[in-house]
């Protein structure tokens, strides 16, 4: 008498698409990826960080609650909106040059003008490349 030996089960590949019996869609040959907003607003993913604005010193450019897409690899040029660290506090400001020297200001004429003292420590954290505003707030 010989023992019965079962061979290994034969693995069958699972087909990853559905077979359908109807007429093939005429669009099949023109399938494209859906639009991805992050590809529009993020050009350098390693250097891009999301911030959120709080306050109204930058209205109408930036409103309270806007998301800011901040790219650290961009070198700020006059007219940029930037995230700037002022005495250790992250803020949103307009970046300008005055006689070749960098200067920050607020966009909102009703807000108190940004007037740093001589000892105020200022550095640019990153350039705000895009901002996102919910027009029907969800959160």
């Amino acid at each position: 008498m010989r023992p019965v030996v079962f061979g290994p089960l034969l693995p069958l590949p699972l087909v990853g698409f559905r077979v359908c019996c109807g007429f093939p869609s005429p669009a099949d040959d023109w399938i494209e990826d859906a639009i991805d907003i992050s590809r529009l607003v993020i050009t350098n993913p390693a250097a891009t960080f999301l911030w959120r604005a709080a306050g109204d010193c930058m209205t109408p450019t930036i409103a309270d609650g806007d998301f800011l897409v901040c790219d650290r690899s961009l070198v700020p040029v006059a007219g940029d909106v930037v995230v700037a660290v002022v005495d250790g506090e992250p803020t949103v400001k307009r970046f300008r040059l005055s006689r070749g020297r960098p200067q920050l200001s607020h966009d909102n004429p009703k807000a108190e003008p940004f007037a740093p003292s001589a000892s105020t420590e200022i550095s640019v954290w990153g350039v705000v490349a895009w901002s996102l505003r919910a027009h029907r707030p969800t959160r």
Partner: protein, 420 residues
């Protein structure tokens, strides 16, 4: 062509990650605590200057921290992992080949560049600009020498963060001044043996007869000698001699009293060990589980460990989990409040060189495919999204993280806020 290997690492990486998003920490003594807010695992130079040490238990230094205005933060691995990914993405732009060694260290292939030092300086500046993380770069013809160079770059402010040991005279001077215990891959046991042989500096280790090094310290010692001489022995993506063990250990948020809870915890540790082993292409011949009560808390105290040996070295999480549960059952005793446990694997071997056992007739290929799918899912959907049965369930042992900063870069509702 002489190879040029760069080792780049983030300066007190965890603290640097925190400072990118909280600029007020700049210049302030800052420490990061291990999971469960147990011990110091990272400290800023300012914290070092007031005498805080790596491994200090937090409860012992709490008063000092309050007095000196030290910022003590819980570890925020979500943030550190994301920042590490970004830093490595920058590295990719500077070298055709990057091997990630740990969360804050990577090897880069700089072979064939006209000006490797200039390249390293540009790399540093770019990483700093793009991610905010300060780094140091060490250059050398072997991984071991690159590691020595990195060590020197960190400790010598005049070097401005880049140290090149390509030049023989510079290298000789550097190795003569370096204690042998500071050489990568020389653990405390090897260091003691070497000092007993009269070898106290890296230069003396380099000048040892390779055969003598082999008989005293096995093939690892021989490779160290040759690497220090500038002969590459570790292949580009090979694990270094120093990576002989792998462990996942945690303190528990609440002491564990029930065996079932402990089994679930060690199963999840074993899963993480498996991930680490597979990422490094190594396998474990045996596994140890340890557990102990809080040595600083009220008694009764108990500390125990149990071990299992696998038929053949493995990196398969299902086998590691089964082994860890078996080892934990061996060590477990009722009636104690266990505050910490861990899974430790030592004597790791390269996965390709696992000695096949006749008895262990498992389907290796199938296991590898399953583990690859597990790792891919966890990378894609987040750590712990797919776990093996024994590790699943509500965790009663999850950690305390009282002072964790927001997960600035990985959670939409925790992004940093800028005042406008």
């Amino acid at each position: 062509m002489t190879p040029v290997i760069a080792l780049s690492d983030g300066n007190c990486f965890y603290v640097s990650c925190e400072r990118v998003f909280d600029p007020r920490l700049e210049g302030r003594p800052t420490v990061v605590l291990s999971s469960n807010d147990g011990n110091i695992i990272a400290r800023s130079p300012e914290a070092k200057a007031i005498g805080l040490k790596m491994g200090d238990p937090f409860f012992k230094i709490r008063a000092l921290c309050a007095r000196e205005g030290v910022a003590a933060l819980s570890s925020n691995y979500g943030l550190y992992g994301d920042m590490s990914r970004r830093v490595n993405a920058v590295y990719e732009q500077f070298a055709p080949d990057v091997v990630v060694y740990s969360i804050d260290e990577s090897f880069l292939d700089f072979t064939g560049l006209a000006d490797p030092i200039g390249h390293a300086r540009t790399l540093r500046a770019t990483v700093r600009q793009w991610t905010g993380i300060p780094t140091c770069v060490g250059l050398g013809p072997t991984k071991t020498l690159a590691k020595v160079a990195n060590h020197l770059a960190k400790r010598t402010p005049d070097l401005d963060g880049v140290c090149d040991l390509g030049d023989l005279a510079v290298r000789d001077k550097a190795l003569s001044g370096l204690p042998v215990a500071d050489v990568w891959g020389v653990g405390p046991a090897y260091a003691a043996r070497l000092v007993a042989m009269g070898v106290t500096t890296a230069a003396e280790l380099r000048d040892l007869d390779p055969r003598q090094a082999r008989s005293a310290l096995s093939v690892v010692g021989e490779r160290l000698v040759l690497e220090l001489r500038g002969q590459p022995c570790l292949s580009w993506d090979e694990i270094p001699a120093g990576r002989k063990g792998c462990a996942v250990t945690r303190s528990f948020g609440h002491p564990i009293l029930a065996l079932e809870d402990l089994l679930q915890a060690v199963a999840s540790f074993a899963c993480r060990v498996g991930e680490k082993l597979r990422r490094n292409g190594v396998a474990a011949p045996r596994l140890t589980v340890f557990m102990h009560t809080n040595p600083f808390g009220p008694g009764p105290h108990h500390s125990a460990n149990g071990a299992v040996t696998f038929l053949e070295a493995t990196a398969d999480s299902t086998e590691l989990v089964a082994g860890a549960r078996q080892a934990a059952r061996k060590a477990w005793r009722n009636g104690f409040r266990y505050s910490k446990a861990g899974v430790v694997c030592e004597g790791l071997v390269l996965a390709g060189q696992v000695q096949a056992s006749l008895l262990g007739a498992r389907d290796r290929e199938r296991s590898e495919r399953l583990m690859a799918a597990l790792d891919a899912s966890n990378r894609r959907f987040g750590r712990g999204s797919v776990v093996l049965g024994p590790a699943a369930g509500r965790s009663r042992w999850t950690q305390k993280a009282e002072w964790r900063s927001p997960r600035y870069t990985t959670r939409i509702d925790e992004v940093p806020v800028a005042r406008a």
